[in-house]
């Protein structure tokens, strides 16, 4: 009985200490602005130090699941948001938030940004980065096969590339959906038949990007040398290579440029934020040169700010794709459910 008593008392003591500890750390005297972001938002800890030093406003980052989950949460809490600024809704999803009236319109004009990128924000949000979803190939695997990697979407349905491609499930992953959009953009009328040909050519559908890239792609021990990933996966392979690669070594993976779809990500002020001025200041900071230059090697995306320079790894391994497939945000929004249903019907057969 004594033992029981002791353990109860100890447990509650721990509990109280925990409560006290956290309460004291919660009461920060500074003004705080909360940035909602998808969970692959990985910037250095001191990324906002300059912002806080200049404005006296602390930045709190709230992660909200992957970009789809984050979008669903923001749509649901429209008008009474969990944070002040949203980072990272992309051109495939932004209209859903515009339709649910989730934004307090704000387009930051403090940085030089291409007009086409600005327009894709529909006057509601500010573009902050862009990237490309492309078919990646494993250089070593194709060397072993003695085969040239495919050049474009048409090559993927040729018999010599049979059983080589793995695609993340489009109904569950944003790169998977982006690749479907690339095919819609390339074959506006016949994309569904194109998918039938891919299926006949033994394409594999992985449950998500992680499954496709780390389980099924030959570079990481799988059996398929072609995978739908990002145009920036090659520099990531170099930077995060273990053991480290030589500085002048070629990247172990490559990108099939003619399969790329452009993803644009936006930051927006959320309607219902109780600190709109701070939120706008934060959006200005996000497109500022200092923050933009952090993006390539941390988020593996390209800066929208034309003044921001690319790091060597990007210049060497991942120049931006010059002519990607694109669809307007409105088109994607209008056809999203129809495209997903049709795609699912094809792959479920």
């Amino acid at each position: 009985m004594n033992k029981l008593g002791t353990s109860i008392v100890t447990s509650f003591a721990f509990f109280c200490v925990g409560l006290l500890g956290s309460c004291s750390s919660e009461t920060s005297p500074r003004e705080t602005v909360t940035l909602l972001a998808y969970d692959s938002f990985t910037v250095p800890e001191d990324a906002f130090a300059e912002f806080t030093a200049e404005t006296g406003i602390a930045v709190d980052i709230a992660l909200g699941g992957d970009s789809g989950e984050l979008t669903a949460k923001v749509a649901l809490t429209s008008g009474n948001p969990e944070g002040d600024v949203l980072w990272g809704v992309d051109n495939a999803l932004v209209t859903r938030l515009v339709e649910t009236d989730a934004f307090d319109p704000y387009v930051s004009l403090v940085a030089p940004i291409d007009q086409s990128l600005l327009e894709s924000g529909l006057g509601m949000v500010t573009p902050v980065d862009f990237g490309f979803v492309c078919v990646n190939y494993d250089v070593a695997a194709f060397d072993t096969l003695g085969l040239e990697p495919p050049m474009n979407l048409d090559d993927l349905i040729k018999p010599e590339y049979r059983g080589m491609l793995v695609v993340p499930d489009a109904t569950a992953s944003s790169p998977g959906f982006a690749f479907v959009l690339a095919t819609v953009s390339a074959f506006p009328e016949t994309w569904s038949q194109y998918w039938q040909q891919l299926i006949d050519n033994d394409v594999a559908i992985a449950s998500d990007w992680t499954d496709a890239y780390y389980t099924q792609f030959t570079r990481h021990g799988g059996e398929r040398p072609l995978v739908v990933s990002y145009s920036t996966s090659p520099p990531a392979e170099v930077i995060l290579s273990d053991p480290p690669l030589d500085a002048d070594a070629p990247a172990p993976t490559g990108v099939v440029e003619d399969t790329c779809f452009q993803q644009i990500e936006f930051a927006g002020v959320l309607r219902g934020s109780d600190n709109v001025d701070a939120a706008r200041a934060l959006v200005d900071f996000l497109v500022g040169r200092g923050f933009q230059e952090l993006l390539p090697e941390n988020l593996f995306v390209y800066p929208v700010n034309r003044d921001a320079s690319l790091p060597d790894s990007f210049v060497r391994y991942a120049e931006p794709v010059s002519e990607p497939w694109t669809l307007s945000s409105e088109d994607i929004a209008r056809r999203r459910v129809e495209i997903l249903d049709e795609w699912l019907r094809r792959v479920q057969q």
Binding site: L4, A47, K73, L76, E82, Y214, G221, A236, D242
Partner: protein, 528 residues
């Protein structure tokens, strides 16, 4: 050697004491916790988003119907297989002694408390290509994750079967089938039913396994809920499905567990030396479970055909840039703190509820205790966002929300594991104490509390382990300052590059080690 047939003690039970007011309050905290954390969010989300018309349209869509059919029949098969394999193992563990018996018991328990996100990919990588992405691989994974339920619930029952009873039956000419049907199964009857119900529930609501192993062709209701809520933006449809799923499971569960759970008596069975077939089966089961876990551990130190320490050193360095500098070590200490808090919340509430349920049947509380297991994590996550969003009840950004939700997830298991202990407290002891003039409070402190001590330890271990591994609800409520270890693993697995992968595997291995440590420590407090 004290051997007692199940239920025999209840025959001699004295009439119950009149329930005091105090007695009626035992189950109240548990009921309130579930109401606030699961029922209310589901209700508010449904009320906010669902219009009457969308109920029928949702339930008549072909993909939805397909998901409902698939949920049922893969869950039925999963339950059949898990019960089959699990009972064999439970019988071996209950009847035979062999080297490594305790290790086998610990090993089969570990997968149940590990998140799919952590072991799923290791499991997938080991499957031969022919069974990948098929119903077979889903069933295999459900056996892998849920075998612990059967082993844990059924082993104690079969430990009570008197070998002489079996010998006597054999002498009288009973064949093996008759032995099993008339003696072996009846001894574990209700435990098997409860185990079957829990396995069915876990498989029916399976999300990670089906997503990872099923391919785009197969989706359960849970997967369909996610697809509707997140991908198609149809929160209304998701809420309809979630409500329907919760009701179906409550009803099925109530039907399957109508009878009281079996009274357990402490027994010291002399276990016989295991024959070769028994040892071979037990070791095979252990290998089946160890191999994916070992593969994960190897991946944390090996990449590109050579050994590396970068995964582990990233995990323990505060300067690694892999995850926004939020150093991963703090995720470890945070996970442990949350696990402790979840235990502190779930165990007292769960124990008192078990005591209350042991004294009188409370169907409502029993039904409520199924809800946290039956409601979709996505929908509860969304529900909490729209329920607790107004000051002074705006809890969405509160760090304590996560350990609180962990406690709710663990609560049904804590109650279930302590219920049999609570029910085995002889009513006569309390009555004797009452006759001797002990007040209700003193009766509780002098009789119930000491006898419940083993359940306290088990409950703490169970809730801590479940909290460490919780992924679904946490991923919807997490903030940078509140990342737990499974979230870190998931985020790392979302990045390209060797180092990201080995670090993810190192974090997963650490989670595995912590979980195993907890399971080992509470295993020693359990009987048999």
């Amino acid at each position: 050697m004290t051997l007692t047939r199940p239920n025999s003690s209840s025959v001699f039970r004295l009439p119950r004491l009149r329930a005091s007011v105090l007695d009626r309050l035992w189950t109240l905290p548990a009921a309130l916790l579930v109401l606030l954390a699961s029922v209310l969010p589901l209700f508010v989300l449904t009320k906010d988003t669902v219009r009457a018309s969308s109920v029928l349209t949702t339930l008549s869509r072909e993909p939805v119907l397909a998901a409902i059919r698939f949920s049922f029949w893969q869950a039925i098969w999963s339950t059949v297989f898990t019960l089959g394999v699990g009972s064999l193992l439970a019988w071996i563990l209950a009847r035979y002694d062999f080297r490594g018996r305790r290790a086998v018991r610990v090993i089969v328990t570990v997968p149940f408390v590990l998140p799919t996100v952590v072991v799923g990919s290791a499991f997938l990588a080991l499957l031969p290509t022919s069974v990948e992405r098929s119903l077979g691989s889903i069933l295999l994974a459900h056996v892998f994750f849920n075998i612990a339920v059967v082993v844990r619930l059924v082993t104690p029952q079969w430990s009570m079967v008197d070998p002489e009873l079996l010998a006597a039956a054999r002498t009288l000419g009973a064949g093996p089938i008759r032995l099993v049907a008339r003696i072996v199964l009846p001894f574990a009857g209700s435990a098997l039913k409860v185990a079957g119900a829990v396995v069915f529930l876990m498989s029916f609501t399976s999300y990670g396994v089906v997503r990872l192993l099923g391919g785009p062709g197969s989706s359960t209701i849970e997967v369909e809920i996610y697809r509707r809520a997140v991908i198609l933006g149809d929160v209304s449809g998701a809420a309809v499905l979630a409500t329907a799923q919760t009701f179906v499971i409550i009803v099925l569960f109530a039907l399957a567990t109508r009878r009281r759970s079996v009274i357990m008596q402490r027994v010291d069975v002399d276990r016989r030396r295991a024959p070769a077939w028994a040892m071979a089966s037990a070791y095979t089961a252990a290998v089946f479970i160890i191999v994916p876990l070992a593969a994960m551990t190897v991946h944390s130190v090996r990449g590109r055909g050579q050994w590396t320490s970068s995964g582990w050193s990233n995990l323990f360095s505060s300067t690694s840039s892999l995850l926004d500098g939020a150093d991963m070590l703090s995720a470890v200490t945070r996970s442990l703190l949350y696990a402790l808090m979840a235990a502190v919340i779930a165990v007292p509430i769960g124990l008192t509820a078990a005591v209350g349920l042991a004294r009188r049947r409370r169907s409502l509380t029993r039904a409520l205790l199924v809800v946290p297991l039956a409601t979709s994590a996505v929908v509860v996550g969304f529900g909490i966002l729209v329920t607790y969003d107004q000051s002074p009840f705006d809890f969405r950004s509160q760090w304590w929300l996560i350990p609180f939700i962990h406690a709710v997830v663990a609560l049904p298991f804590v109650v279930r594991s302590s219920l049999s202990v609570a029910e085995s407290i002889p009513q006569g002891l309390r009555e004797a104490a009452a006759v001797l003039g002990a007040s209700p409070v003193r009766r509780w402190w002098a009789v119930d509390a000491p006898l419940l001590a083993p359940a306290l330890a088990t409950g703490c271990g169970l809730s801590a382990a479940l909290s460490l591994g919780e992924f679904g609800a946490t991923s919807f409520l997490t903030r940078q300052r509140t990342q737990t270890l499974p979230i870190v693993v998931d985020r790392l697995l979302g990045r390209a590059g060797d180092t990201a992968f080995t670090t993810a595997m190192a974090a997963a291995t650490l989670l595995l080690a912590l979980t195993s440590l907890i399971v080992v420590s509470f295993d020693s407090t359990m009987r048999t």
